[in-house]
């Protein structure tokens, strides 16, 4: 049995629409108009224990809604979910003790107190034994290098430190499944890197199942072998990140700078001309033809500079989003 299985999950919302401007306000004062939006539309997937999965999609794609369904916060319109054998929406306390949902922008720590005070309260809330609490806290504090800030008021911590403290609070009870919603949002590059390596380490060390959403493709690229891509509530892709990359890297791009102006028609037999202004050109060719075409260009044209590139992962993803297919 898989750790987590989702079949035909669907969630519809009613959204309140407000018209713009003062007249709009007055209109909606008397009558509110609603419309239905399909936040999640017939999604199915399964996840095994210990997997670290990237869950990607543009804003409003339905990522957070799916995570909320998985953690039992919202009741699906239809479809079935099983997490560790539980139905999340029952919000069984044993189920809640085995998961954690970390939302990057929402704080659960007591703002006016040092994080340690909140941890002690969570210890009782999650019914964590003294010994477990001690070892778990020690381990997390060391992994995240938090020793000095445990006794500093949360409001005085930097955003990065706060996020780390937040993570500790969410992990004290050693959840088997971790849902991370934008854990690196708003953090600087160094801190992003630290959180990333922590997530990897946590996954490896505790064999925890982690489902991660992120705006930053770097998070996903570095951490996740498998990705699930959704847009407009629909599942577009579920599989290895490397597969989708290699599928989209059947093409290479050759950028050329010529010494003098070249007619666009001369380049048509090389490949698909993406851009051309006489001097600078970008031509797309299939992967196996790339060497041949490069030497053809070098021998037949006055080339000043030439580079061959693969498309970036961000580009691939955004092509998928805009074309709605993989």
């Amino acid at each position: 049995m898989s750790t987590l299985s989702v079949s035909h999950l669907t969630k519809h919302y009613r959204i309140y629409k407000k018209e713009a401007g003062l007249m709009g306000s007055i209109n909606s004062f008397f009558k509110r108009t609603y419309e239905t939006s399909k936040a999640v539309d017939d999604i199915s997937f399964t996840i095994e224990q210990g997997e670290l999965i990237g869950f990607i999609g543009p804003n409003g794609a339905g990522k957070t809604t799916t995570l909320k369904c998985l953690s039992g916060l919202i009741y699906p319109t239809s479809g079935e979910i099983k997490v560790l054998g539980y139905t999340p929406f029952d919000r069984n306390y044993d189920f809640l003790r085995s998961i954690s949902l970390v939302m990057g922008q929402k704080s659960q720590l007591w703002w006016d107190l040092p994080p340690m005070e909140s941890y002690l309260l969570y210890k009782e809330m999650y019914d964590i034994s003294d010994s477990h609490f001690k070892s778990s806290l020690e381990e997390l504090v060391e992994l995240l290098e938090l020793k000095e800030v445990l006794h500093v008021q949360v409001r005085k911590l930097s955003l990065g430190q706060r996020m780390k403290c937040e993570l500790v609070a969410q992990l004290l009870h050693s959840p088997k499944i971790l849902f991370l919603d934008e854990p690196t949002i708003g953090l600087d590059i160094v801190m992003q890197q630290k959180i990333r390596s922590f997530v990897r380490e946590y996954n490896r060390k505790f064999n925890a199942t982690i489902l991660l959403t992120s705006h930053y493709m770097d998070d996903v690229k570095e951490l996740c072998k498998r990705v699930i891509i959704i847009n407009h509530g629909k599942l577009l892709y579920d599989g290895a990140l490397s597969d989708i990359v290699s599928k989209h890297t059947q093409l290479k791009r050759i950028s050329i700078v010529f010494e003098k102006e070249i007619a666009k028609s001369d380049l048509d037999k090389v490949g698909v001309v993406i851009s051309h202004d006489g001097i600078n050109s970008v031509v797309e060719v299939s992967k196996d033809k790339a060497p041949e075409m490069t030497s053809y260009l070098l021998s037949h044209f006055p080339v000043e500079d030439l580079t061959v590139e693969e498309p970036q992962i961000e580009e691939i993803i955004s092509t998928i989003f805009s074309s709605e297919k993989v």
Binding site: K18, G21, L22, S25, I26, F29
Partner: protein, 256 residues
């Protein structure tokens, strides 16, 4: 034009929170209705009593400013004030206009409620206002609001110096309730409290405005109300200006 557009924006915000503002209306209404019931039980079931409390509700809604919390907590303590300092507009007037929609909406709600009330209890409200005095009474209400607004704003400015003034604010709220006839009509108070009230500005915000509205004040009395209101407004504006000038220095010096 600039102010007009701002006013439009503020009205939009108010409409977003129509239910919220309805609750703000219920607070004084509940309180004052309870008092009418109380006097009923004490055998004072006169339309003078009910008129007084009904008008106090409206007077309070129209003339009491609630500017203090946002200025003290959000603008000064959380530092949002910076956003205003970089714009070429007067902070005093920004706050003044941002509150007007609330007062207007409350007045609309209040008129509807009181209209409904009068259908069931036609004797509950008694006005004997001379129509010729109406412009003057409106002027008294405007001055009353300005008094309350300037006072509350000045109070909020104390946040420039003190970390936590909410205890003081509560105390002031209580003092205002007592000395502006919030418990019962001022002539019913013990002599000593009446005398103190005469030397404080609070009754000149709502209380005298509603006595003017009731039509129990002669023309000469109306003018003396306006005169005293103007004197108090002058004093408060002066204090407000000094507090602002020094407070801003304090604010920028701390480098919020």
């Amino acid at each position: 034009m600039k102010w007009l557009r701002m006013l439009g924006l503020y009205f939009e915000r108010v409409f977003e929170y129509r239910l919220r503002s309805f609750i703000w209306l219920l607070l004084p209404l509940t309180n004052n209705m309870t008092l009418i019931l109380f006097w009923n039980g004490a055998g004072m079931n006169t339309s003078a009593v009910s008129s007084y409390y009904i008008l106090m509700t409206i007077g309070g809604l129209l003339t009491t400013s609630h500017v203090e919390f946002e200025v003290s907590e959000i603008d000064i303590k959380q530092g949002q004030l910076v956003n205003y300092l970089t714009k070429p507009i007067s902070y005093y007037w920004v706050n003044f206009f941002s509150e007007i929609p609330y007062r207007v909406l409350q007045a609309v709600y209040a008129s509807i409620l009181i209209g409904a009330l009068l259908i069931f209890f036609p004797n509950a409200l008694k006005l004997s206002l001379n129509p010729l005095h109406i412009p003057l009474v409106i002027f008294i209400f405007v001055l009353g609001y300005l008094l309350s607004f300037t006072f509350k704003l000045s109070l909020a400015y104390l946040s420039f110096w003190f970390k936590d003034i909410h205890g003081l604010m509560e105390l002031v709220t209580i003092i205002i309730i007592i000395f502006s006839g919030g418990v019962m009509p001022l002539p019913w108070y013990p002599k000593i409290l009446q005398t103190i009230s005469n030397f404080l500005p609070f009754a000149y915000s709502g209380y005298y405005a509603i006595t003017a509205l009731q039509g129990i004040v002669p023309l000469f009395g109306l003018f003396s109300i306006v005169l005293i209101q103007c004197v108090w407004l002058g004093v408060l504006l002066f204090i407000n200006k000094i507090l602002w000038k020094n407070g801003i220095k304090e604010f920028t010096a701390v480098g919020q």
